[in-house]
């Protein structure tokens, strides 16, 4: 945090800008800097408004709007994991693979090995946690670059998934009779046309919990500090290694939960699902205004990022446009988001 206006005016403060005459531009930049989720939130509301005008009732119905929530739930949850890692100036390419392997383990252990379903779910979650711990260890202790570590983990975990599962799908109906707990997150609560799956509620709950943890706890402060400047963090007494390992491990655990939510959504256990989750989660995080250089951004922003993608996807489909237009617009948004991030960084130096 090198932003002068942000420093609290201590007794020896030499210069303080508080109270100085702000121009409108400076005010906006300052606001966006302190609340980086504002830009994606604005884009999200704008997109909803535009599609609402173009499509009317069909889009602005509780049904369609909660449908978007359901469609982004998986990527939204994965984006939470990705956000944590990117806040430490890392990146996790293995998120999708970890999600799938965890879901396959839950399915295979309960249906094929006949394990009690609670235990199978626990094993799946432990699988995600272990993958994260390994990545975290390699990044924090062995000091390998996160990109390389998670590139390797991605391949290893995905291959392990295919080797173990033999690419075989476990059918929805089989799971419903033998291990219904696996489909827990697929259950729906309907309130007047609006449908909320447990998976959606989990995603929203996760955003709240992580936002709190990142902003109100020492651990959260350490995550930002490590991402901003690991040397400075180390010198100020932050245990950088432990913080990094905890972040990767937590990210792995969140991915495993995403795997559980995924079973709820598609009903079956499919070893071939989620192939693009890493790219889609990074997209959501970047559009959500989290800096790839670490230390800046909020998980709420990542949720908005995921929702923006969901709004564009459904909105453009309801308009009857070719799916390619969605990708084109998402591409533009990514570049726009990074441009905004860069400008803010420059303005804040």
């Amino acid at each position: 945090m090198t932003n002068a206006p942000q420093l609290p005016p201590g007794p020896d403060a030499i210069a303080s800008f508080s109270g100085g005459p702000y121009t409108l531009k400076a005010r906006v930049i300052h606001l966006v800097y302190t609340l980086p989720a504002l830009v994606p939130l604005f884009v999200l509301l704008l997109a909803v408004a535009i599609f609402g005008v173009l499509l009317g009732e069909r889009f602005l119905s509780p049904f369609a709007l909660t449908l978007i929530l359901q469609q982004v739930a998986i990527i939204g949850i994965i984006a939470m994991a990705q956000s944590l890692v990117i806040l430490t100036a890392g990146i996790d390419l293995s998120v999708g693979a970890v999600m799938i392997l965890s879901s396959v383990i839950m399915g295979k252990f309960s249906v094929h090995l006949g394990m009690p379903q609670e235990l199978a779910v626990l094993c799946g979650l432990l699988c995600g946690l272990s993958c994260g711990l390994i990545s975290g260890f390699l990044v924090a202790v062995v000091k390998l670059p996160p990109f390389i570590v998670t590139l390797g983990m991605w391949q290893i975990v995905l291959a392990a998934n295919f080797l173990y599962s033999g690419s075989e799908v476990i059918r929805s109906q089989t799971i419903a009779t033998e291990a219904p707990l696996l489909q827990f997150f697929g259950q729906t609560v309907s309130i007047g046309g609006a449908n909320f799956t447990y998976g959606v509620m989990f995603m929203l709950g996760l955003v709240v919990v992580l936002s709190y943890a990142l902003s109100q706890t020492a651990w959260g402060r350490h995550v930002y500090a490590v991402g901003d400047d690991p040397q400075a963090a180390e010198l100020s007494g932050v245990n950088v290694k432990r913080t990094l390992i905890s972040v990767y491990a937590l990210a792995g655990l969140i991915c495993a939960f995403a795997g559980w939510v995924l079973i709820g959504r598609i009903g079956s256990v499919s070893p071939q699902a989620g192939q693009f989750a890493n790219i889609e989660s990074i997209t959501a995080v970047v559009i959500g205004g989290i800096s790839l250089f670490g230390g800046r951004g909020s998980v709420a922003g990542a949720l908005f990022g995921a929702l923006i993608v969901g709004v564009f996807t459904l909105g453009l489909r309801l308009l009857g446009l070719d799916v390619q237009w969605t990708y084109l617009l998402i591409g533009l948004l990514i570049i726009l988001a990074v441009t905004v991030d860069q400008r803010i960084r420059r303005a804040s130096l």
């Binding site: 449908l67 690419s167 059918r171 697929g186 598609i266 079956s268 499919s270």
Partner: protein, 337 residues
């Protein structure tokens, strides 16, 4: 460079030697990927047949469906190792023709499996499912099954927007079987029949099937007939319908005949599916290469078609009059994956 040249010369020698001596014939199998159960089973069928005939089989696969470069490298490896023939399920059907021609020039028999090359005669022969016929069968079955086909509301879940041939053939076959004018048969989406609600993409998996079905329902909730490119997409579509309380009044048809898919037919998730036979495809391919290695004889196409049709069966739990159909039990016996 020198080493490569020397290597190639060595290969030329060894193939010549192999031609002269009586060595066991060998064959390469190159599939789109090694994870899709369809190709996993195809490889199993090929290995079983090769073992039976005492042939050597080398198996290659792209890293993912669409991985062209790995397939080219595999063809080069096969040519260099002096096999008698290549069985190829191509990812990029047009771009692969160059390396395929090089292999044929080197004296190899090249058989396209499952996916015809573009043009189809770029390979010596194609062993494939008649995908248009597969689509037509489920279309006709749906037409005969629905009480009021004139007021059908049809949603279609395809593979992806690049419109690969297999997907176009199944889609257009389905619409033809249902009695809908398809316009340009080489692409889907140009039909103007008001019964069509929309075409969505599913990436051929359950996740995409669910999202695609949700989008179709958002466009028009009155959909009552859904075509799906394959059974995982159908299973995903069914989950979406179930979530909307529409599971029982929408008819889903599909193509593939994988074991989970046939179980879904038995369980009433899918109304009917057109089953294809990848093990058979691979086994016939291996046999053709064995015959070619022994006698130099080239495989012949099915009469009236420009490829060898490995057959398709309509599997359903609710048979209709006037069509040849397989029961679920028969489908289970023949299923793969």
């Amino acid at each position: 460079m020198k080493i490569i040249k020397a290597g190639l010369a060595g290969v030329a020698l060894s193939t010549a030697a192999a031609g002269a001596a009586v060595a066991a014939p060998s064959v390469c199998l190159i599939t789109k990927d090694a994870t899709n159960p369809f190709f996993v089973k195809m490889a199993e069928g090929a290995f079983a047949k090769a073992a039976e005939l005492g042939m050597e089989l080398r198996s290659f696969a792209g890293r993912f469906d669409g991985d062209h470069e790995t397939q080219v490298a595999a063809i080069e490896t096969c040519v260099a190792s002096g096999v008698d023939g290549i069985l190829l399920a191509a990812s990029d059907t047009a771009a692969i023709t160059g390396p395929v021609q090089a292999a044929r020039d080197a004296g190899l028999l090249v058989i396209a499996l499952d996916t015809p090359l573009d043009p189809i005669d770029a390979a010596d022969m194609t062993f494939a499912t008649d995908n248009f016929e597969a689509g037509r069968l489920i279309g006709e079955w749906a037409l005969r099954t629905m009480e009021d086909p004139d007021n059908a509301r049809i949603g279609l879940l395809n593979i992806n927007i690049s419109q690969p041939t297999v997907g176009v053939l199944r889609n257009q076959g389905f619409l033809t079987g249902f009695g809908i004018d398809i316009g340009d048969p080489n692409r889907w989406g140009d039909e103007d029949d008001p019964r069509i609600v929309g075409h969505e993409v599913s990436n051929g998996n359950a996740e995409g099937g669910r999202s695609g079905m949700e989008n179709l329902l958002a466009i028009d909730p009155s959909i009552n007939l859904v075509y799906t490119i394959n059974e995982p997409a159908a299973a995903g579509a069914y989950e979406a319908l179930r979530a909307f309380g529409r599971a029982d009044d929408v008819l889903i048809v599909s193509v593939d005949g994988g074991c989970p898919g046939v179980e879904d037919v038995a369980g009433g998730v899918i109304g009917a599916t057109a089953q294809q036979y990848p093990l058979q495809m691979a086994a016939l391919g291996v046999e053709a290469v064995a015959r070619f290695a022994e006698t130099g004889e080239l495989p012949e196409p099915t009469e009236g078609k420009d490829f060898f049709d490995t057959g398709v069966g309509l599997v359903t739990g609710s048979p209709v009059e006037g069509m040849e159909q397989l029961t679920v039990e028969e489908g289970m016996r023949l299923c793969w994956g």
